[in-house]
Symmetry: C2
Subunit: 623 residues, 2 copies
Amino acid sequence: MSPKITTELLKQLRQAMRNPKYVQEPVQAYIVPSGDAHQSEYIAPCDCRRAFISGFDGSAGTAIVTEQHAAMWTDGRYFLQAAQQMDNNWTLMKMGLKDTPTQEDWLVSVLPEGSKVGVDPFIIPADQWKRMSKALKSAGHDLVPVKENLIDTIWVDCPQRPCKPLITLDLNYTGVSWRDKIVALRSKMDERNVLWFVVTALDEVAWLFNLRGSDVEYNPVFFAYAVIGMNTIRLFIDGDRVMDPAVREHLQLDSNLEPEFRIQVVPYGSILAELQAVSAGLSPKDKVWLSDKASYALTEAIPKAYRYLTPYTPICIAKAVKNASETEGMRRAHIKDAVALCELFSWLEKEVVPKGTVTEIIAADKAEAFRSQQKDFVELSFATISSTGPNGAIIHYKPVPETNRTLSVNEIYLLDSGAQYKDGTTDVTRTMHFGTPSAYEKECFTYVLKGHIAVSAAIFPNGTKGHLLDSFARSALWDCGLDYLHGTGHGVGSFLNVHEGPCGISYKTFADEPLEAGMVVSDEPGYYEDGSFGIRIENVVLVIPAETKYNFKNRGSLTFEPLTLVPIQTKMIDVNLLTPKERHWVNDYHQKCREVIGAELERQGRREALQWLLRETEPLTGQ
Amino acid sequence: MSPKITTELLKQLRQAMRNPKYVQEPVQAYIVPSGDAHQSEYIAPCDCRRAFISGFDGSAGTAIVTEQHAAMWTDGRYFLQAAQQMDNNWTLMKMGLKDTPTQEDWLVSVLPEGSKVGVDPFIIPADQWKRMSKALKSAGHDLVPVKENLIDTIWVDCPQRPCKPLITLDLNYTGVSWRDKIVALRSKMDERNVLWFVVTALDEVAWLFNLRGSDVEYNPVFFAYAVIGMNTIRLFIDGDRVMDPAVREHLQLDSNLEPEFRIQVVPYGSILAELQAVSAGLSPKDKVWLSDKASYALTEAIPKAYRYLTPYTPICIAKAVKNASETEGMRRAHIKDAVALCELFSWLEKEVVPKGTVTEIIAADKAEAFRSQQKDFVELSFATISSTGPNGAIIHYKPVPETNRTLSVNEIYLLDSGAQYKDGTTDVTRTMHFGTPSAYEKECFTYVLKGHIAVSAAIFPNGTKGHLLDSFARSALWDCGLDYLHGTGHGVGSFLNVHEGPCGISYKTFADEPLEAGMVVSDEPGYYEDGSFGIRIENVVLVIPAETKYNFKNRGSLTFEPLTLVPIQTKMIDVNLLTPKERHWVNDYHQKCREVIGAELERQGRREALQWLLRETEPLTGQ
């Protein structure tokens, strides 16, 4: 992978930073966050402004360009990738390391006195604006909104904003109608004495209306906002997408509904004017509810006295707790996904070992091909990480022709992949060796497995936040002086974003909400050696009630049920490092894989994959 | 324990809340925090205003009195105690439980529109003021400073503020002279471009000047502030305490020091005027550093533009990392403390079993008597928790005649106690049974022990914050549906406060600083059954570097060394529930107790205690 040459682009951007056409006064620094106007993690090509200016296209990162410097903040998953994709104009700021300055501290250290720092107010979340603005102000600088996005002004061949057809989801998939979701939302609004609710996140709009789209790759969402009042539903969406009869029927646009359930469809671009109009009609004590991560532009449209901001919206929280239909859908999706992976691994074993002709890209494509054979397959849920040997150490690696390695019997292979099915979203990582792993590789793999099991088998009281479980995943690695520089788990949507809030498992104490039965998260500890290999073991797990011997204060307990049912390669396990309890966990897990996935492979007539599954799920025997 | 009758007092307080002598406009609510003007946890009798108005005298709690209501917020340690000490005028607000409203939310729910909420600006920390003021404002109310403390206006027999003699500590104890501490502080100020530093916490003043006092029971501190400039040292302290020749010599008050090390001694009460004077002399960009927990009154004295607030001061952080002299002192103190406890437990065994005449108070007094026989003993480090049977479930219980139970062979006995020695501070909890514990009692004890060991033996990377270790202490309890409603550990001072920042081990994600080699914390999981028994196993442990097989990113690892060396009653352990690793930990620990404490008991000629120690440290044998 050769870095993007950005010298000329940076020159143009710096000119734009001084151009009176765009800025009232020159800005001495310009911030390019990675999000879009909805603070999405995955974004459409037209929103990949940070990647355009820097070359670094990982999912997380913030660029800041000053007259003299260009710096990129990203986290441990992307240190290697960012270093490879960026040229010497850029300084990599490794977030999470002790000596790395925050963006604010860095700006203060490099800017001349009384500087102006510009940012697109539609792209920066209000909470970030507030923090940064305060820090800059206290050092004598100013954060200023620059309405015209300066990257767009220099991006000649910027792609168009997508506007693809919508998919309607019926009750079999969603369990709850959009109408009932609106009723529930209004009751939450009523509880908090709120008159209006602004839906800004794309997955929240999609979830609320039981619609899906494909405007953003991997995330079945569409560009839209919604504003919900006690008697009003307004959907801000472009194009003739709502002319589709199925969509009109689904949203009951042509029915004679009670007024409070009539959906008004208005243009996407009119959201700002709408919020200004709503605000103008408010009386003292009236409140408008929106996420504190909504853009600064939308947040500012509502006068401060009327704003009701929360870190997680009621939609975000309701969406995270999967109902029975969604849970069943997730189970079905994971069974199909496991079938596809058994096919893949069985095929790889046949191809890699004797022939040595399978590259990372071929393996990734094959995985997609097998998945696409399954019922209700829609697309992948993220770019497949198919990585062998040293590429495995690039935590969010995606194979491209320049980096593409051939799988061999001498290297560890790491596959982190997932798909969107109409009934659920999957995300699974398996790490395998097609030859004979070294004792050291097995040792590291086994520590990671111990961490995976420690989380998956953990029992914890109701009300526990996910971050309190993170150290369980690391303890076995820590004991030997090892660790990994990423969180342990993220929430997973139901035929929605593969990363979703409000829960997760991380050493970072973000304001996560407590885990609740019905939530779905990933459990994915790892271990990575730069230049050598990467190991990660990831299941998607469902939070379920746990039976315990006692029940302190009647609080009840929770634990996890693995939804992912794909064998964990026993060849990589040093059984001597497992406790009897851990060994039983592996054997029970493999027994369940055999039963559930075996039956489905049988049903689908996939004989070779079934044989592979049976071989790979032989019980471990004790020391 | 009968509750304090507060009807008349509340009536008087409510009158004061409307009295134009004290308030410009009536306040509809009055907040009584538990701290003093230094935000101390332990406070002098004259500062026990919350206990005076409510009867509840636990170490943590906030009272709020409105025209109609009186409510008390406290945490899980004190739910039982507060319920017992308060009469029906009071509503107990159990912090940490899901349905308990925050103080702000509660105020908003009970106050009439446009209310004023009063508080003493010297008692409320600035960060709390800010949070509460914001929340109240957004609901249409106002937080107002009431200069005259309203409790003091109705507290007829309020005791005088103490003003006891000072103790000077020489280099053998402190390792670093006050002069070198000032140099180090000024260098931190220089790094941050700060001109003035305001020392507001009593233990920080004591640590900085290598002085101790006895103004507050259990905490060897004295009422004082300090203001440090680049060429100025001002100590705000009352009385003729600095007339003591030893103190004058220690502070070199009569030497011809370089001007920047000359200490100016000024009256305690002049701090506010001093800060106003300092502020008046500042130029733009000048900064004054103080803790964000300093009082609102002092913080407000410095105009916002000049303030530099941090959650932990450089003194707090330096104080937490014990140097070699302090570490050695802590070790010595813990050896002496263990000698005293071996004496006590040996004596209890002789007295309780055949005679049954030892009460909780007698046991606590006896513990103090044995401690006071040890060299450099100064006082206890907190009120001894000597509790048997159901009293053990009151987490911060202190025996009083009304509650005093007799130790017996039928109940679990919990002793949480500690002392101040000139060379260090101790804090240890042991839970014992003098008869035959039930299988259930042993089971619970063993889970707590497993949690204690999981923290004590944990290995974790440099840079890890203590809160990431908290779940290790709970895991064995969680597995069976059990838990405890308090944190797992707190920082411990060196002949200073038994609770100190900036580190700790808690499920609450307060902004703790990473653990560093040299820090000292407690490790004290527990399990409590209301009405039956309490179990807690507490050691004070020192953070030390750990040797590990590997060393990821060269970060280095840490672990803990127990400073407390008192046997853990093996009779209470269900050995079948321990892993071999845990069994070895217990045996190694007891071996060390034998060697280190055995030698000291021998040296001090304490034969019976030595025999007890040898019996109690017999190795556990495997399943």
